[in-house]
Symmetry: C2
Subunit: 340 residues, 2 copies
DNA sequence: TTGTACGCGTTATCAT
DNA sequence: ATGATAACGCGTACAA
């Protein structure tokens, strides 16, 4: 079957009107008499006409497409974020282009370049491995951008993040309250969010007169959490370290896995606290004590702000929007063992 | 700061060449002398030129965009699917437009219309609530489409699915082997995949000379699994039904939740087998016995086939590609209690 | 090796 | 209320 492409000209001819009128019948941007409207609609139906997006895009100078850059869509935190963003987008008649960077800087740069080519009208950027300050500006030009979940130092884009430092403090207060005095932190590289969580936790420890906790790197992955625990296993076994704070739930679960494999019980021997409160946290056993972020609100607010700007309702103003977090006490944390 | 738009004409003028030469310097589709190339590249760099995708799209009649329609991106099965597809796409220099339908038929139709407007070059469709046969054809016209995870009856699109019936049989054989004689199935509405899983399971029961199991609906959600168990709680408590097969892991976890809430132990009192083997399955306690699908292979093969067709390498031919499944025995299933 | 000129399908401007 | 025509920015036959 040969493909026949129906253009607005075909419809116009069939309805015996101009292309202009066909266009306006569709957009409603100027009055069209009922009879003509009827003729046009009939012609469109008969021909099976649908306007080509590519042509509309060129003519209107926009695509009604939003870029969404996330480090890992199979991490359910980002999946939930994507869901919230897509939801808001579709209601405003935008579609979302999914960009999964895998925490890879080159990939993120690639996606940012895509964005610069005006393939999308704007972007929501959850950075996993952001380029340097100056590079980011160069890559993006003046394209509307909002940051979510992760600060990008030097960027003037509006930023939507959870109160990571407060989350760290809450986690610390919780563990300190259980009598833990020596805690290890599993953080993740250069990511601001992880650093803030670590900083908040450390600050609370200092306030309690304790030495700064050891900080390990787990790269935000299950595997990383597992390996991190391995490097301090002796101090865990000896009871020198009695609790672990992981900068996300995945690493916390990895940590628990390794602890149990070493015959250590959670929370009997070691308490573990995570961050995010992904679905996994509630299904895992022991159910994970963690700091909950309101992911969908984060995503929805970021997307709504971007769309408001694209629609000319409100310009994008620099600024950090910080969302409350909440400690969810479950079963992976408890009193220091020698205190029970 | 005012936005200055750089077009190919600006570059051409600055490099003192024609637009044609600029275009070919970029595409490499015809030779350009080294000196001229140098001049053009310099001009592009100085002006910060990036070709506009919208214009390229119109000129070339394509967008290098793939649509991906999934029922629920926050279900980690579909998240993994999306990841695999995006991975293949980006390597072939395509981007993915994420469409999350929420198992809502109207939303799916909306997305299919988007596709028809040639916003994308082709689509991967994981149906959650597909339109009727005839409607689908009407909606899509001749747009390249591949189906994944779910059959759509009446569609001629190449389909990539797991061997759902075999999965059902494996689950049944497993439970039958443990001595279970009365099992309930938690299925999901009109979805082909769920029906095939149910059919395979039922077939194996019949082969063993058993009555056909009761079939409940759980809508593929955690909540649905929970409610489904509730409706047969008495028969579970009485020991009349000793095992449950759920058509996906989420419903299996919901079922377990409700069972434990009712004081029934898994697998002590009731065995539960799921389907998919999402991440959750291995983290939940008891760790979930389930039928594993090779999600990433499914997604990758579907995407690769679509892209091959778009690049003109191989046309899309109707046909079902069925992928092997595998029973993963974990801790949520065991011998029938009165047989131990 | 390089340039000219047209087509892609729509929307915006200006005219009637 | 309707129509003619010019952008929009790029790719590419065709020409030189």
């Amino acid at each position: 079957v040969e493909v026949e492409v129906v253009s607005i000209a075909d419809v116009a001819q069939r309805a015996r009107v101009s292309q202009t009128t066909v266009s306006h019948t569709l957009s409603g941007k100027r009055p069209v008499s009922p009879e003509v409207q009827e003729r046009v609609r009939l012609a469109m139906a008969e021909l099976g006409y649908t306007p080509r997006r590519a042509a509309q895009n060129l003519a209107q100078g926009r695509t009604r497409l939003l870029g969404l850059i996330v480090p890992d869509i199979s991490n359910s935190f980002f999946a939930a974020l994507a869901r919230g963003i897509e939801e808001v987008a579709i209601h405003a008649q935008y579609n979302v282009v999914l960009c999964n960077s895998g925490f890879d800087n080159q990939r993120e740069v690639l996606y940012l370049e895509t964005i610069r080519s005006r393939a999308v009208d704007g972007a929501v950027y959850a950075a996993g491995a952001p380029p340097s300050d100056s590079e980011l500006g160069r890559l993006l030009g003046d394209l509307p951008l909002v940051l979510v979940d992760e600060d990008v130092p030097g960027s003037a884009a509006p930023t939507f993040v959870s109160d990571n430092a407060e989350g760290g403090r809450l986690a610390a207060a919780h563990l300190l309250g259980f009598g833990h005095r020596s805690v290890a932190i599993i953080s993740a590289g250069a990511l601001q969010s992880a650093q803030l969580r670590t900083a908040g936790f450390t600050e609370e420890c200092r306030r309690a007169g304790l030495a700064a906790p050891a900080v390990l790197d787990g790269g935000f992955t299950f595997e990383g959490g597992l390996v991190a625990v391995e490097t301090i296993l002796d101090r865990l076994v000896s009871g020198e370290i009695t609790a672990i704070f992981a900068a996300n739930d995945l690493m916390a679960l990895g940590a628990i896995e390794r602890l149990e494999r070493a015959g250590l019980s959670v929370p009997g021997d070691v308490s573990v606290v995570g961050f995010d409160d992904v679905d996994l946290a509630r299904f895992a056993r022991p159910r994970l004590t963690t700091v909950r972020q309101d992911v969908s609100r984060l995503g929805q607010r970021a997307a709504a702000t971007l769309i408001d700007a694209l629609e000319g309702r409100r310009p994008l103003v620099p600024g950090r929007h910080v969302f409350d977090v909440q400690l969810i006490e479950r079963d992976s944390s408890g009193p220091r063992s020698d205190m029970r």
